[in-house]
Symmetry: D2
């Protein structure tokens, strides 16, 4: 078909490790060649002119919740609609979180397999671990060895629903290490959050601002620091999802400075929003900003941008989990009942470009690293994903740095009736998205193909695991233990 | 009697706030006058010449365990012998920890009342809280309102025996705040300690070095940071007992920099020892250093000294809890069974003087602050204790900066058959100790009087609580909550 | 006379080390007694009822510029009028900076002696060192040994006028150490400031906002860190005047954590203002905020408050240096010509009480420490000053915590036609000021007596110098140098 | 010739962005293909079996001093011998520092052109700026625009010889920014170093240990912090050469955390040595460790390793500057006269592999980044250098991770009669070095070809400069200046 051969001419091809003006030739979903002056051999090939534009790997969103059943309702975007929106925004792969059913990973896996039937782009899975016993431990084996999973997420909050205590968390982290799977944490002190929520209700603070006040940044910093120390104690890499505060970021920075392998994921909401919206007198507006950890006061955004720009934080996700106003209204009398989550899968690539590259804080290569490549590397699917190299999957975008974008619920492709980034504008527009070798977004038109998205298996022992065995052995031999002993009388 | 009137002539009288050459006159256990040139009116008065020497408040040890039943045995020094040793070392008051019996504070209180029958110097109590329920909460009221207790200690380690989880800890801290009592924590991550211990045993590391390796400084730093954040969340002062690592100290420093009221207690063992002893091939020697948190690697000692010198850490205790070699030998095949604890109540004043004042790191006034005054202030018994002022209790010492001391189990007054500071020497010798107006130590002779020690009631709402109500009110009014709301349609 | 005997009844007497309800009896300018229930013996004694009020040491302002000739003009308050304003605000002593004349300290000293003829309260001097040669070095000897000076200030900014380079600064710091005098620094990178100013002018930014933009906080942090390291290298205490940024504060905190003796002085302007005023469209308003280092962006104020509350910063000054609008207008076309300085000597005690004590961040004892006692101790005039003790000078205030104050140029006592704190209100009013045993402020009436103020000699080797010789000796002996050597062939 | 075609079979080809098992085909000095299963077409091609080995980009040493005239003598290795040694150790390019002659950059350039006549591998140049005037500024233009220079180094130490003051440094940094050239600093406080040296001599400490004691880490940290702030003030990237202390590293970490573009270069000596050697009783041994900044106490090495492992520091150089024992002996009576410098160009690749990769701290890809790729990127010659990609220069090595190395002056190829790393052994041996497409090191045999090394021009505006113009513009527009003003009367 016409979509099977594409020649992109004259763009600046940006990989995380290098940018260069070159042509890109695609055939049957694979990038075949990247070099200057590729001649068009096949007349059927679609030719795209990218002169003056950036040709970059399609975005990979490491953190989404499509079709997520949570807090008594279900996020509005399923894999089909959410991914379609992603494509319109330049993202060509997402990694979603499988939530166990009654603690069962397998049951959760099955349910998520079902959800992805109509996928319109490639995807992978993390698996959440929400209780701990021998069965769960065995299922983790299965997930890694049979199902293409290489990361597990542990909740340090959402007490009584998803949260593990430290003993369980430690067991989970150890198991991850043994499997070569990456341990991920949602880092907030769940006990204190419950206490904070009670306090707000007692004070008569029942609106969305109570959400913010009940779980301040110090509770995120605490749990982040705790997870980091536990991972250090086990000596295995750690991935901290949704770093929302400079306080948590500083814990990561400190650990990295001391040589620990900690990955920090920032969200687009954390980068470009602040908590003022939660004080909006209109509940509909205020409620749309409710997510956990909360979007923080102004200042945290700048600090997170700075940390991202120099690699203290590594990548940008969205925690995309849209709800409609009617769903958000479940919590009109009690912020604890407002479904947590907001959109971003469609907006991420634009907002990161504008905020980080247009502002001069990052280069295009940095941008590719933070929005795509680093994610592919961490989850061990590079260079199939996250690169524009011969042999890579043909997931890529053409971004025009001189075009503008505007975000509004009226025109967005996600299904929610509001948009957390309503009214934001900026420079740098994704004009073309190619996923799986097909042009799925061009001229403002979406051509997503239900069922075309593939599950991408992610093998264990990714790059973060290199050297761990040697480090363990070195530690032990340096410990000069056990000591040979005698016993004198005192 | 001859002991009821004492005139100390010509010494440098050191209070935490000022030092001056002056005479001190004592009558019936009370300091009556502090000024130059006090004339001797009563011929019965004992006159002590202190020219060229320092006259200072007797030491107050904020952290002791006399007659402590722990790990299946009992610490060798009871109140009588332990306090006698204290007097010989210039300490005239200790604050011990009441350990509940089956979780009951009252039962624990009663048992400790019994233990103190033969006290030879004044003492006070902290009360440990080792489980959480309504009864415990009610007993805390009684302790504060009726029993003269103003501090409670929570264990974040010693899992299954003493440890509370975060929910319980939070409840305890809240209760403390409401009572004006100081929350204290033993800060180590107890879950991880258990894991670390198992790991050592599995590796065949069963000796005292396994104690160190199983609970590294990062687990102390973690729990310290966690307790600090929880106390901040509740907005109440926190007292961290036995800060043993620079990592934990840095958590305290960071909190204090941001305006939080956190008190850090360092131990004399933390100041002057390092972990090398735990690797000694002689089990008897290695075992005597086993305490928790462990004495850390060289470098931590210097960092703790520095922090103490500038008030980043506030006071010095001992965690005095002596065991004999035969008791330590319970753990000859498993370090987990070595009773935790070492001596210090007799050595503290000398070692702190030598390490901090003789080294030039602290002045005599700083020394008095760190060994006596700050403790008296924190536990709200200043200026009755911790000061040489007219009206204060006559607990004081005469220290000769030009005399030397040497520490050895042969000559010490505590009952253990070893001494953790064996062989240490230094300058600055406590030549006279006066407790309750009596000369109890002079010319190397101890004249302790069993039963002469009094229980010192410590009233709640000490100085650390000043302003907390105002800060709470300001926080709330600054939060601009609750917001008055309407709801638009999306 | 009626003023020679005063009995203050029933107040809460606050010293830095203790607060207690007591009476205070004063005779001939000296505090004679502090104890409960002093009976009025002399019928001539004025009796003041202080029930429900705080009786505290009069404020000592460590940093003023009265009658200062600077930038081609002279600050509007001389010693007489500036000190009168101080008394109306509860400050009973100031320490001013002698500025050398053509680099000569003696000439400067003489000029300042003249300026103080009509002093209405006690005062002391720091001496600035604005060039370096053998003469200056010799004059420093004279200042310390004959003139009652124990501190010298070095400028790291004001290039070409006051600034020293690092070599000179090092010489100055070394000389200070040898004299037992405290080295003080104005810490900004003067070279970079000049560069920043040029840049602003080139950009057409000539207004007061250019003052802020030309010398950002990082230049203050840089110089603060540099001075700290140089003082550490010499091993002598350092006093950093006017810490205006959290960045500079963090340098101090870091040094103190590592055991270095660094004192940080915060200004009342730094505590309660932010830089928004410099953007005011009215030049008259904007210009009044011009001082160096600049008042920083919001956020720095809170950070400085927090650091002050826990003793990371030690005391509060004003840098009082008022100019009239007509003087400020010298720089209407060029912010570099706006005389630097603003008021505060009258407002400090009220604003610190309101901001720190009323907010719950500090206790009254902390307040006394930060506004009076610590200054007296640092400059070695405690307990003559900075304390309400028998024998201390009768400089004290009665503050009513339930009264309110309002600041406005209309009613203030300083001579400037504007007030940097215009319109500010708060709780906690100084109702009575007693200086030198005389009631100089009561019922809103000022009774300052020209010529009654005395110069207070400040002896060298204050408390910060204790232990330095021992530390030096220890350092050397620990260095294991010189090494005895032989030389092999390679 | 036989050397023009080389086929490397079956190795693990490691680039900084990816490692993969592949063959590498080289023709005429260029890498032609990198892919699995390259068939040997040309029978003349040399085939190398790399199975089980790593094929990596040749090392690039960013910091050498070949043929350096310094301290009255000349470093023993010239470009020919030093580079030959480099090849034997797996380094295929070095960037040396042109030192001006009488301040003239052009004169220096000419002299260095001469020195490189017999180069045996490719090289580039940084240019030192050792005075400041209009001529120097103009010469910087020429260097960048005509001579292939894109970096300039400023000395903050070596007072009176190489050192600039802050005003000059600022001018230099500004000039660098305008040219798109990278500013580099030798960061030590030169004024304080002179003071420290005098102090040592006065104390009779004239041996090598005096070198260490005279310039402690705090002086390095100070200057590092200062340079960072000045670069931030100018908003241009900064490269800190030879970061030797954790203190300096922390300054870099802090800056990077706040988003500043600071590059930290660590030396192999800083990574693997400590200062104990300077206390060796044998002058010949002690003197060989004298370099500036000094090698620090144990602990700094571990901290620098940790920072390197996570990218807080970016790359590893050597500061190779060998002197013979007879030259070192110039300072037998005065450490100030010991020529500063030690070897490393030959040892770097081995020692970094052993210390960082064998220890488990870094992966092979990290290793390539830190020893080669990052340098090539920073100096804007990537992917010609620093990569094994089709089109890159054929500079590469084959490292056998199972072979061992041993370092000793007896067998090394550099010309000095001692080796700072004498006796060190480790795993990971460079078995083959290919430079410019020629096998120059194999089977322990060196086949360097004098004159075969080419000067590599380095264009300005490398990747660190991306976004700076946008950041500048954003800063200005965010400053809301100039303000439009009116003037009220006060
Ligand atoms: Zn989450
Ligand atoms: Zn999520
Ligand atoms: Zn404990
Ligand atoms: Zn204890
Ligand atoms: Zn100043
Ligand atoms: Zn000033
Ligand atoms: Zn250098
Ligand atoms: Zn060099």
């Amino acid at each position: 078909s016409s979509s099977s051969k594409i020649l992109i001419k004259g763009g600046t091809v940006v990989n995380a490790h290098h940018q260069v003006v070159a042509d890109v030739y695609i055939e049957d979903g694979i990038i075949v060649a990247v070099r200057p002056n590729i001649r068009q051999v096949d007349v059927d090939a679609v030719v795209l002119d990218a002169a003056g534009k950036f040709v970059m790997p399609g975005g990979i969103d490491p953190h989404t919740h499509l079709g997520f059943e949570f807090m008594g309702t279900k996020s509005v975007d399923d894999f089909s609609t959410g991914q379609a929106a992603a494509l319109a925004g330049g993202t060509t792969m997402n990694i979603d979180f499988i939530i166990p059913i009654d603690g069962s990973l397998s049951a959760g896996y099955k349910a998520y397999e079902e959800k992805t039937k109509d996928s319109v782009m490639d995807y992978g899975f993390h698996v959440a671990v929400t209780k701990w016993d021998e069965d769960v431990s065995r299922e983790m084996d299965i997930m890694v060895k049979e199902k293409g999973i290489n990361s597990f997420k542990f909740f340090m909050a959402h007490k009584g629903v998803l949260m593990l205590d430290d003993e369980q968390l430690l067991e989970g982290i150890k198991k991850c290490k043994s499997l070569g799977a990456l341990a991920m944490v949602h880092a907030e002190n769940g006990d204190a959050v419950v206490e904070g929520q009670k306090r707000m209700i007692e004070l008569g603070i029942t609106g969305p601002e109570g959400h913010d006040l009940s779980r301040p940044a110090l509770l995120e910093a605490e749990a982040t620091g705790r997870a980091i120390r536990l991972a250090s104690f086990v000596n295995t890499p750690l991935y901290v999802v949704h770093v929302m505060s400079s306080d948590a970021m500083e814990e990561i920075a400190k650990a990295r400075q001391s040589g620990q392998k900690v990955v920090g994921e920032v969200l687009v909401s954390g980068l470009v929003l602040n908590n003022s919206g939660l004080w909006d007198p209109d509940f509909t507006i205020a409620a749309k900003y409710v997510m956990s950890p909360p979007i923080r006061a102004a200042g945290h955004d700048k600090a997170l941008q700075a940390a991202l720009s120099t690699g203290v934080l590594q990548l940008v996700g969205t925690d995309h989990c849209g709800f409609n106003s009617t769903q958000k209204a479940f919590g009109i009398d009690d912020f604890r009942k407002i479904p947590n989550g907001l959109n971003g899968i469609e907006e991420r690539m634009h907002l990161v470009w504008h905020t980080m590259v247009e502002s001069g804080q990052m280069s295009p290569t940095d941008y590719v690293r933070a929005t795509s490549t680093e994610c592919a590397k961490i989850f061990n699917i590079y260079p199939r994903k996250g690169a524009i190299l011969a042999g890579s999957d043909a997931d890529l975008i053409i971004l025009n740095p001189n075009s503008s974008f505007k975000i509004t619920a009226k025109s967005h492709h996600t299904k929610s009736d509001t948009n957390a980034f309503e009214g934001m504008t900026g420079k740098g527009k994704v004009e073309v998205t190619i996923a799986g070798g097909r042009i799925v977004w061009a001229n403002g038109e979406l051509r997503a193909v239900p069922g075309s998205g593939k599950f991408i298996k992610m093998p264990p022992f990714g790059y973060l695991f290199r050297g761990i065995d040697k480090a363990d052995a070195n530690y032990l031999s340096a410990s000069r233990a056990p000591v040979k002993r005698f016993t004198s009388s005192a």
